[in-house]
Symmetry: C2
Subunit: 160 residues, 2 copies
Amino acid sequence: MLAVQLEPQDIRILTALQANARLTNVELSEQVNLSPSQCYRRLKRLEEQGFIKQYATIVSRRAVGLDVMAFVSVTLDKHGEDPARAFNEAVNRFPEILECWAVSGDSDYLLRVVSTDLRSFSNFLMRDMLSLPMVAGVKSTILLEEEKNTTALPLNHLRD
Amino acid sequence: MLAVQLEPQDIRILTALQANARLTNVELSEQVNLSPSQCYRRLKRLEEQGFIKQYATIVSRRAVGLDVMAFVSVTLDKHGEDPARAFNEAVNRFPEILECWAVSGDSDYLLRVVSTDLRSFSNFLMRDMLSLPMVAGVKSTILLEEEKNTTALPLNHLRD
DNA sequence: TGTGAAAAAAACACGTG
DNA sequence: CACGTGTTTTTTTCACA
């Protein structure tokens, strides 16, 4: 999917909505200095064209007691049939795995995982991950302190 | 911030809104089997109590031409005064750094970074990161394939 | 494009159990 | 006090100029 064809107005709209998906059309139009009708039409177009993946509610991880977040590097056992496929299917069964990426480098996959506490995280690694037949090994990195955390993509590269 | 005091109705509301932040109150009430007024009041309460961090619009990374995403491990040079603080300030100046975490393990920080292409990512590493005086070294892992990617936290652990 | 009308939704007050 | 109902205000959506 190619970028371009985004005008400065569209970029301003996306920027504002990245910060707050529940802006009303009038609030949005004030923030981006466009008429409400123009805002409305542009947003509908952006939605249709697939620029907006989702309107998401971000729940506070701490508030719901998910005190542990970690990245887990996974190395697969290349034997057996289609271990990658089997692993992906397993990954989708675990809601505590928020992300799974095939990666370059030492390991095969990188997972972002949340848990209520270290004990439960350890259980996840030992009982859930290492028991998967195609998993050869895991290595985890626990996130200690959040210095920055946003879902907002930079859009300045789209300005010519 | 402690968890608990969340009733099954609240969990259903949060679950539905995590998938779609723009549900109307009536749509929400239908999905979670509550009256609209009850839904409305519960949601306002959840917002006040800090369970909702943000309503975010998730922009399609590919659509806006950010073809490269990577994790970057950063090791700091512990000399000089307060290198951690200086690093955090630097991190916040770069919009292409979406996340920055202090981590356990070999390195000190882990960044999530987006770029338009490998050349620009390489520039970011060489020119921007390695030129920072407190940065001793970086090691990057490029994300090749997205197998799973959600902002929705699991909430089933809150059910008694 | 903006303007205006119609429909839908949000926000709030009131009464009831 | 929590709940549903009804009212007012705001917002969305669409037709028209």
